[in-house]
Structure formats: structure tokens, C-alpha cells
């Protein structure tokens, strides 16, 4: 059985099945003129006939749908097929899914930046592919209807579609019977999309398509890739950010069993061996001298001082509402630490560099960037680089960087075999793209009714967009704005507001961490609003009600959470918070108690308004996921630095919330026909604030600096 299993895996990788696709890839250009033209390209693959780049239907009616977004737990391998299946009136039982290759037709327009990319991030998959996929489905449906109408010699308008069949009076044909004829027809120029009130599939929760492979061990993650003749590599990279590799002695490493090669790759040493364990042991035996370089003086104190002095010097105003805020008597300074994504699958990629082609198998959120970088690094034309996206064992933003795939390409260039690179957990933790450390000062004044009227917020941090935003992109307008997301344009009615941002440059790599700026701004804003309520002697729920007077959609979401939470149980304490991000509004009510000196999280009641819902069960599970990650990080998550080196190397030093501590998360969805919002990240921002507000209610101690850690003496 095991042998069989292996053989079939390898066959898949060789090109029989779902992973190796579309072997002819036209060049990808980053910026393309906008058009909604559906591809005339074919959805390649073994079985079935293509109606466009997304849809292939077999004579048995099985519809294979191409997924341009990566599945990393957020449910896109179910939600995106639903968009196609809805417009196409497919029989859901006959839907199959396969990953798409890196190819321009699978790119989409980013929501806030005028470029078209094949990227999974920003909670944008459903929103970003919403029109594109529905049009692809509707257009394929029109072709099938046209084929049936011709065969039956009836007007198109007299035909309808249902569960994978075209029907007209007593006549009926399955899509499988019609697809060959349909594929000969021209792609229609204009097709009508369904009125959302007539959706049959969207808004229901069919079982997720990817789950069977996640309960029997068959799901293929990046780390699971096996290619014939493959060898293994691991690295030891310079632990000091801003530092460099001085020299290394590999005598002991090379003497280890199975070691094939040891060499320098950038500011790292790579060990290649027959098996991973051999590579890892040999890497442990390396004697390496590092120079901390610019990292030398980089520690908790100096980083803190850099942020504070930037804040004191004052940043640049990036948002104003009304006149200059004045008479600011209430002050509070908040901060959050660097945070690591910590997906349970560490960084890994498998690369085979051959004379005429490069193959990259990777758990990546950015297949086309991986392809562009691999082409550059291996000096290969874009058309000869093939990226095979696997399942991601968690991404959370970390796998939208190409550092690990780039490194795997550089290593594979030196080896005449396919190489699987795996970073140890220690490498993964100490070479992150961290959520930046951020400090935020509030200065405010309350009106006679106690409500917040004047608010001056200043934020200092490294900017994630530094060095990432492509040339020509309008960084100055865009980047600071996102840094203050949710601090600017809060849903609250505040007469005078100003938000300043001070950018700090440090050699610590920072990146998109789940919910990105919302991960800290939710904490900064919603805890400070509680402070204002406390100052005014008002209840935090009623206080927000008053501030939400001009934001009915936010108010409705907030009221739903409060109503569903009901009254506070005896001995428990409550915190509330509200935050909009990625086009969705989430309100959370958290109830906790203190039991024998321990925080006991009982329940988080969440309400979410994410517009039109594609798959309600995914909405519930993603909110639960965001809440747990937000709470885990608020309680424990902190990466600290010494001489520019991260001090947390594994889970014993970077605690994740275990099952025992996780609260029940009760999710309620606001019914809506508004444009869909994102869902993968939006549950996270309110969680830390709801927690700290509840802790204040329980203890009278105001946590202004995360993680909570042992700041409370309970």
C-alpha cells in the first residue's frame, strides 16, 4: 500500500494529474490594460473539453475548475468554484478542483493597486475574482445553452439550465453531452450575470472540497512534494538582520553520512544531503562565524528608542477630519511587538533546475512572483519556468514572500538533481517577515456629554511597503494610509481628528501578517475608546452606540453581537470591540473570568457584516480562526531582538494558544446583499481589544502594551 501510494504521488508530479498543468505558459506582464475579456485559452488537462481557461467538462459531466488562488485554510477551493458553479448551474457533486499554473489569464486586479497579479492575500480572493469567475461561468453556460438550442432547433431563450443540464420542455441534455459542440462556438461577448436574489448555491455551505484529503494524509502540502531523484537541503542563515556570513568550517559537516555538498548561498550556508535528517545534522555540525553588521546595536531598547524618538519628533499628517483637534487632555501610549506568522508548515520549496527548464513546487501565495524571480535567478526565459502551487500548511501572509523559493532556486542551481529545501522551525522563526513593532500615542478631548470630540493619533513603525512596492507605484499616498487603517476613517462620529505617521527604518524584515495593520490598530483604537468611556464614566457598549450614530451598518453589526451575547454571567467580565477591515465589519463581545490566578476565556460572540455571503460555514470558521490567532498573539506573541537576532526560535519560546485555553466562538452573520467583503483576516483585529477591555473590567488594569504576558498579577 505504501509503495502504491508513492507511485501515484510521483505520477501526479510527473504530469499525469492535478499538479503539473499548463505546460505552455505565455509571458506574464505585471501591468495589463483592464479588460473583462474571457480567455480563449484552454484549461489544459487530461480529461474533458475546455470552455475557457477556468472550466473543463468531461463527457460524464464532471466539471474540473481551475483555481488561481492558493488554498491555505481559508476555503477558496470551495468558495471560488461556487462562483463558477452558480453562474453555470453545475451539479455541485460533479465539481472537481485543480490548481492553476502561474499564467497571466489567472491573474486578477488587486483591489487597491492598479496592477493585475496572481496572488492570494489581502482577503481578496472572492472579491477579486467575483466578476471574473462569474462571467466565466455565465459565458460557459451560454455556450452550452447555444449548443443545445442548435441541436434541438429551438430558440435559446426557451432553454433553461439546472444541475448540469440544459432543459427545454421535455428535452434535456447533460453538459457532458453538449460540451464538445459548445466548445466549437464563439465565446459570447456579452453575458448576463444572475441577480443575487436568485442564487441557488451561493449562500449555502456545501462541504469543503479539500477536506477529505486533509483527514487521510493524502493532501499534498509543499513539504510533501516528492520528485524522482530528489535530494534534500537545509540552511543556516545569518541570525543577525543586517549582518553577514564571515566564514565557515564544514569539515565536520562533510564527514556526516549522506552529505553531498555544502556551500554558501547569500548570507547563509546550505547543506545538501540525501535525506533531510542528514542535512539537518550536518548543518548542526557547521562552524560558522557571523558578523552582526548593522544588527550589532539592534536590541529591544534601541528599537524602542528609535520608535519613541520618531513619535516625539512627529510624523507626517496622513489623515484629517474637521479642524485641528484641541484641548487634548487625555493621553495614552500603546504598543505592540514584532510578531511571527508561525504557520505550522515551515518554509519549504522543491526546485529542479535543468538545462532548458526550471520547476518550482511550493506552498506559495504568489506563484507568478515565484516564477519571475526563478527566471531571473536561474537565467531562464519566463516561458521555461513552471510553478506548481501546492496546498499551504498555513500562510497568514508569510508565504507571500519569495525569500525561501528564491533560496531554493539558488541551491538547486548548484545541484544536478531536484532539491527539496526545508527550513527548520528555528530558521523559520528567526528569519521571518515579522508584523512590525508599532507604537501609537493618543491625545484626546471629550465633550460635555463625555463623548470623544477631539482626537490626535500618532503612529510610528517600520513600513511594510518599504522595498516591496514595485517601482512606479505611488508609494507615498498608499503606504502610510494603510498603516493607519482603522485609526483614520473610524466609523465613530468625532468632530476633529488628525492622524500622523512616522516611518522608522530598521534592518528587521517586516511583512504582511494576518490582518496586517488591523492586527494592531484594532487594539490601539478600541482599547482607547474604552478608556474614553471609562473617563466619561460611561458603559463601553452605550458609549460606542453614541459614537456610531452616523454609521448605521456598523451600528447594526455591533448591536447584533451585543444582543447575541446576552447578559454577562455571574463572575464573568466583558469586553467589546468593533473593527472594519478588508471590506467587512466585525464586532466581538468577549466574556472571561479569572480562576485561581488564570485567565479563563469563556466565549466570544461575534457578529460579521461581510456583505453577500458565499459560504456561511467558511465565514464562521474564518472568524473563529481570526479570533483564536488574535487572542493567542495578544496573550503571548512576541519576537524580541538582541544584536539584530530574533530571540525566539521555537514554540516553547513563542507560545500558541492550545485547545485548553480557546474560547467558544459564536458567530452571527448580518444578512446582506452588499458587495462581498473579505473574511480570512477580519475576525482578528477586534480580538485583542475585546480581550484587554475585558481584562480591564476584571482587574482595573489597563493593558497598553502587548503581549499581555505576565503584566497582570492575578
Amino acid at each position: 500500500m505504501t509503495a502504491l501510494h508513492n507511485v501515484s504521488r510521483r505520477d501526479v508530479l510527473r504530469g499525469g494529474g492535478a499538479l503539473v498543468l499548463g505546460l505552455v505558459l505565455p509571458g506574464f506582464s505585471r501591468v495589463q490594460p483592464f479588460d473583462e475579456t474571457l480567455s480563449l485559452g484552454s484549461a489544459g488537462g487530461a480529461e474533458g473539453v475546455s470552455l475557457n481557461a477556468w472550466i473543463r467538462i468531461g463527457s460524464d459531466g464532471v466539471a474540473t475548475l481551475r483555481m488561481a488562488a492558493a488554498e491555505m485554510g481559508q476555503g477558496v477551493f470551495t468558495a471560488l468554484p461556487m462562483l463558477l458553479a452558480e453562474e453555470l448551474d453545475l451539479d455541485w457533486e460533479q465539481v472537481r478542483v485543480e490548481g492553476a499554473p502561474a499564467r497571466s489569464v489567472y491573474a486578477r486586479w488587486l483591489l487597491h493597486i492598479p496592477i493585475k497579479l496572481q496572488i492570494t492575500g489581502g482577503s481578496e480572493s472572492v472579491r477579486g475574482y467575483w466578476t471574473q469567475l462569474r462571467l466565466a461561468g455565465a459565458s460557459a453556460r451560454a455556450m452550452l445553452v447555444q449548443a443545445a438550442a442548435r441541436a434541438w432547433d429551438v430558440p435559446r431563450e426557451s432553454c433553461r439550465t439546472e444541475q448540469g443540464r440544459v432543459l427545454c420542455g421535455d428535452l434535456s441534455a447533460s453538459y457532458g453531452e453538449l460540451v464538445a459542440a459548445a466548445s466549437e462556438l464563439p465565446v459570447p461577448r456579452n453575458v448576463a450575470l444572475k441577480d443575487p436574489t436568485t442564487f441557488r448555491l451561493l449562500g449555502t455551505s456545501p462541504p469543503r472540497i479539500d477536506l477529505p484529503s486533509k483527514v487521510d494524509g493524502s493532501g499534498l502540502f509543499g513539504i510533501d512534494v516528492q520528485v524522482d531523484g530528489m535530494v534534500h537541503a537545509t540552511v543556516r542563515a545569518c541570525p543577525h538582520f543586517g549582518g553577514r556570513l564571515v566564514s565557515f568550517d564544514d569539515t565536520a559537516a562533510r564527514a556526516q553520512a549522506g552529505v553531498l555538498d555544502v556551500f554558501e548561498v547569500g548570507e547563509a550556508v546550505a547543506v545538501v544531503a540525501r535525506h533531510f535528517w542528514q542535512a539537518k545534522k550536518a548543518a548542526d555540525a557547521l562552524e560558522i562565524r557571523w558578523a552582526p553588521g548593522r544588527g550589532e546595536g539592534l536590541n529591544q531598547e534601541t528599537i524602542g528608542a528609535a520608535l519613541s524618538s520618531a513619535l516625539e519628533k512627529g510624523g507626517r499628517p496622513v489623515f484629517r477630519h474637521g479642524a485641528e483637534p484641541h484641548d487634548l487632555s487625555l493621553e495614552a501610549t500603546y504598543s505592540v511587538p514584532y510578531a511571527e506568522h508561525a504557520p505550522i508548515e515551515p518554509m519549504t520549496a522543491t526546485v529542479h533546475v535543468q538545462r532548458d527548464r526550471v520547476d518550482v513546487w511550493a506552498p506559495t501565495q504568489v506563484p507568478h512572483m515565484v516564477r519571475d524571480r526563478a527566471a531571473l535567478l536561474a537565467h531562464m526565459p519566463l516561458s521555461q519556468v513552471f510553478v506548481h502551487t501546492t496546498l499551504l500548511g498555513g500562510g497568514f501572509g508569510r508565504k507571500s514572500f519569495t525569500d525561501f523559493t528564491d533560496q531554493a532556486v539558488l541551491i538547486a542551481k548548484r545541484v544536478d538533481k531536484p532539491v527539496k529545501l526545508i527550513w527548520t522551525r528555528e530558521e523559520t522563526f528567526t528569519h521571518g517577515k515579522y508584523r512590525p513593532r508599532v507604537i501609537c500615542s493618543h491625545k484626546a478631548a471629550l465633550g460635555e456629554d463625555g463623548l470623544l470630540t477631539d482626537w490626535h493619533v500618532s503612529v510610528a513603525s517600520q513600513n511594510i511597503c518599504d522595498g516591496i512596492v514595485p517601482p512606479g507605484f505611488p508609494d507615498p499616498e498608499f503606504a502610510p494610509y494603510t498603516v493607519v487603517e482603522g485609526l483614520a476613517e473610524a466609523p465613530y462620529s468625532i468632530e476633529r481628528q488628525r492622524v500622523d505617521y512616522a516611518k522608522v527604518r530598521l534592518p528587521i524584515p517586516v511583512g504582511w501578517w494576518r490582518a496586517v495593520h488591523g492586527s494592531h490598530n484594532g487594539f490601539f483604537r478600541e482599547c482607547f475608546v474604552d478608556e474614553c468611556a471609562h473617563e466619561a464614566g460611561q458603559d463601553p457598549v452605550n458609549y460606542r452606540r453614541a459614537l456610531l450614530r452616523s454609521s448605521p451598518r456598523h451600528a447594526a453589526c455591533f448591536e447584533l453581537a451585543v444582543a447575541e451575547a446576552g447578559s454577562i454571567a455571574e463572575g464573568q467580565h466583558r469586553g467589546v470591540a468593533l473593527f472594519e477591515s478588508f471590506g467587512s465589519i466585525v464586532a466581538e463581545v468577549l466574556d472571561l473570568s479569572i480562576e485561581q490566578g488564570e485567565i479563563q476565556l469563556h466565549r466570544v460572540t461575534a457578529a460579521v457584516d461581510c456583505g453577500l455571503v458565499v459560504h456561511p460555514d467558511t465565514v464562521r470558521s474564518q472568524i473563529m480562526s481570526g479570533v483564536v490567532m488574535g487572542l493567542s498573539n495578544a496573550l503571548y506573541g512576541e519576537v524580541t531582538f538582541q544584536a539584530g537576532a530574533a530571540q525566539q526560535s521555537n514554540f516553547h519560546q513563542y507560545k500558541l494558544m492550545p485547545l485548553r485555553e480557546a474560547p467558544v466562538v459564536d458567530v452571527h452573520i448580518v444578512p446582506s446583499l452588499e458587495q462581498p467583503g473579505g473574511i480570512g483576516e477580519v475576525g482578528l483585529p477586534p480580538a485583542s481589544a475585546a480581550l484587554c477591555n475585558a481584562l480591564f473590567a476584571a482587574t482595573g488594569v489597563r493593558i497598553r502594551s502587548l503581549p499581555v504576558g505576565n503584566q497582570l498579577s492575578l
Binding site: D617, P658, L659
Partner: protein, 178 residues
């Protein structure tokens, strides 16, 4: 790939079959399974016994295979996710537990072992047994999945009592369906 003849061979009782694996004796069972035998359902998360992604069952007990030398597993019944046939897997689908799924092989191995020795665990039993980490935060559904599997196992046990033994479509059989 040809192996060095000086490398020892270990006999495993893997998922009901006798399997030989040639590896350095200190090779963790995790890597023997993944690299030498190609069974990649068992995952690498931390390598230090801290996350549970690598959990297998040895003699029916959950074991973190990243810190267990392959030599220590010789000759004892060893089950990996590829060999697991348990009501808990069906329950995991019914509760839609996994998200990214990476931790779930390990979670399932622990949950199945728990249910095998405690067919109706309390929330406290579950919290005590389920110490594996899940970055996607699927804990609440894991808890529900275990309760659901426990209920399904109880129903199956009741309906397979002698007088009803031929009843068709027992839920517990569903997990073996392809």
C-alpha cells in the same frame, strides 16, 4: 537511491504490514516515514516535540515522532494517518474541522487514540489529551468533532449488537468508504 550497506535496517510494523527501513539509528521516526518510506501524511512542525504535527500511534498510544528515534519503534504496532481508519475522520468532515489541514494528521492521531481508550470523553478529557497546536485555531471544531465521533461510535456499537448485526449503512462503515 542506493543505500550504504553499513546503514542498519529496521523492521517496522507499519499500518498492519511489515516494512523495512534503512536509516541511521538516530534518525527520528518522522523522517524515516517521510523521507525513507515516502509517507508524507505525518507532518514536520517543530522537530522538538512542541507542536504535535508529527504524531503517530505506537502501540495505540500517540507519540511525537520527531523526537522518537526510528530504532525505538522497531517491531511495535505503528499507525500513521495513512493507516488510520477511524470514525473520527468522518466526524472531522461532518464538523468541517480542518482549515489549512497541516496540523490535522497529528490532531486525528491523538483524537483517535483518546476515543479508543475513552469512548465518551468530557470536555476536560479532551482538553487534557489534545495538546497539539493549530495555528488556524480549529480547536472548537476539534472538540465538537471528538464528541460527534464518540456519539457515532456509540450508535454503531449499539446497532452492531447481535440482534441487529446485519443492518445496512451503519455510520461507522462510512469511514472505510473510498
Amino acid at each position: 537511491m542506493s543505500e550504504d550497506p553499513s546503514v542498519p535496517t529496521f523492521g517496522l510494523l507499519l499500518n498492519g504490514s511489515a516494512v523495512d527501513v534503512q536509516a541511521q539509528p538516530d534518525t527520528p521516526l518522522l523522517w524515516a516515514l517521510r523521507d525513507h518510506l515516502g509517507l508524507t501524511g505525518t507532518k514536520f512542525g517543530c522537530g522538538v516535540g512542541a507542536c504535535g504535527a508529527c504524531t503517530v500511534q505506537l502501540n495505540g498510544m500517540p507519540m511525537r515522532s520527531c523526537v522518537l528515534p526510528v530504532a525505538a519503534a522497531v517491531g511495535q504496532p505503528l499507525t500513521t494517518i495513512e493507516g488510520l481508519k477511524h470514525a473520527v475522520q468522518q466526524a472531522w468532515i461532518e464538523e468541517q474541522v480542518p482549515q489549512c489541514g497541516y496540523c490535522q494528521s497529528g490532531q486525528l492521531m491523538v483524537a483517535a487514540a483518546l476515543l479508543d481508550r475513552n469512548p465518551s470523553p468530557s470536555d476536560e478529557d479532551i482538553a487534557a489529551a489534545m495538546t497539539n497546536l493549530c495555528r488556524c485555531g480549529t480547536y472548537e471544531r476539534i472538540r465538537k468533532g471528538i464528541h460527534r465521533a464518540a456519539a457515532a461510535m456509540a450508535t454503531a456499537a449499539a446497532s452492531s449488537s447481535p440482534d441487529e448485526s446485519d443492518s445496512e449503512g451503519e455510520t461507522s462503515d462510512d469511514v472505510d468508504a473510498p
